[in-house]
Point group: C2
Chain length 245, copies 2
């Protein structure tokens, strides 16, 4: 099912984000961390606290990427339906995980209410990942990592599995240009024709005193990046390059 | 095709966001503005600069919501493919809009190169919206609003159409509670059973000295909100409510 290794997709779950009560920081955090590790994020979806919509997003993300990371919607209340959504996407039942039950029993010595028991729910067959830094394990169901929405908890749990996302790093060069995009579009086309394996980005800015466009050249292949940068700098109008980083 | 009036979905287009080079501010901006106007955002997707993936996201968002707003991927370079993606989603051709051609001709009196001409491209049949504050019109194709990715331009163009998103406002009350989520989950269930039309959110926080959970009660129906808040405050454990806002 996973399309490419070293790719990930992110599903952010939460009515609080779609209603503007909270701004999502977990998506941008995961994108930055994954990229730095060498994993390419190929899509991100923000969906409401609804089982079928979560399941739908998780299915689509599993089609698109090798890893899926979800954020939010786990806990004991009615709006915490991510485990049920992931289970539906994987066509698995929701069960209590014995390791999570043990964690809960040692935390609440006065017994497990139905609400407390919900914290032990996982899609059947899920793995739980524990580390010394965590009070409660991370749930991983097949290739779906189920992170909590609270940013500090998400970050601690991400640290426990970050090595799983290490891959060949990306190489990035940036070229600042004082010509407008319309005047350099053809140079970019020619560069891509000659260097089809690099990713070439063009980002205009209208309020900078020195440059009008930031160009990015990126690939896991450092030599391809250098070659494309040389070609591009040569192709751009004389005197238009402000600097290369 | 649009499922509910007063709903919107957002498609953010850009490899620069998925690769962590830029953090998206347009999605959160649009979410906040739309909510304040009374329009409910029901999904947000971030997708790469690829025609078929953009088309796919736009189609899905049109199924989910009355309005679709896209951000990014318009301009004269190879990575600006949003117009083509929206056109594909709507099963329309890409054509030059006469009003946009006029704008371009008055801006560039030395002639229109192929790159400049790309700025006049729209899905066939699209409307263009101009206002005194805009240098260049906003493109609207059926119910899809095609915004530029540069935040200042997006905000100016949103201002030109913000009245189209006005609807009955949302009413929101917030209750801060010093009990943990596991101890109040049943009260929340009972509140929802008695008040099924309100949206009830439960957001734990682990580092606040005074409260452990923030509860939100929300609806377009102010009386339903007040009634649900009264019920909920009565149902919560005695002494657990820190304050109601």
């Amino acid at each position: 099912m996973p399309r490419r290794s070293s790719t990930a997709a992110i599903v952010v779950i939460g009515n609080e984000i779609l209603s503007g009560k909270t701004q999502d920081d977990n998506g941008p955090f995961l994108i930055r961390e994954l990229r730095a590790l060498g994993t390419e994020v190929c899509r991100l979806e923000v969906v409401p606290d609804e089982v079928e919509l979560i399941a739908d997003a998780v299915r689509r993300c599993r089609e698109a990427a090798a890893h899926v990371l979800t954020s939010g919607g786990i806990g004991p209340t009615h709006d915490d339906v991510t485990v049920a959504g992931v289970a539906r996407a994987l066509d698995r039942k929701v069960v209590h995980h014995p390791v999570l039950l043990d964690c809960l029993k040692s935390f609440w010595t006065d017994g497990l209410t139905p609400a407390r028991l919900r914290l032990a729910e996982v899609p059947d067959g899920a793995e739980v990942v524990m580390s010394a830094a965590l009070r409660f394990p991370l749930i991983v169901a097949e290739n779906v990592y189920i992170f909590p929405g609270v940013p500090e908890l998400l970050r601690a749990k991400f640290d426990a599995v970050r090595d799983r996302f290490r891959a060949a790093p990306f190489h990035l060069r940036t070229i600042f240009v004082r010509e407008s995009e319309t005047n350099i579009a053809q140079c970019l086309d020619r560069t891509l024709e000659a260097h089809p394996t690099v990713a070439l980005g063009s980002y205009p800015r209208f309020d900078h005193p020195e440059w009008k466009v930031k160009l990015t050249v990126e690939s896991r292949d450092a030599a391809a990046v250098e070659s494309a940068v040389r070609f591009l700098v040569g192709a751009l109008p004389a005197g238009s390059v402000v600097r290369v980083e």
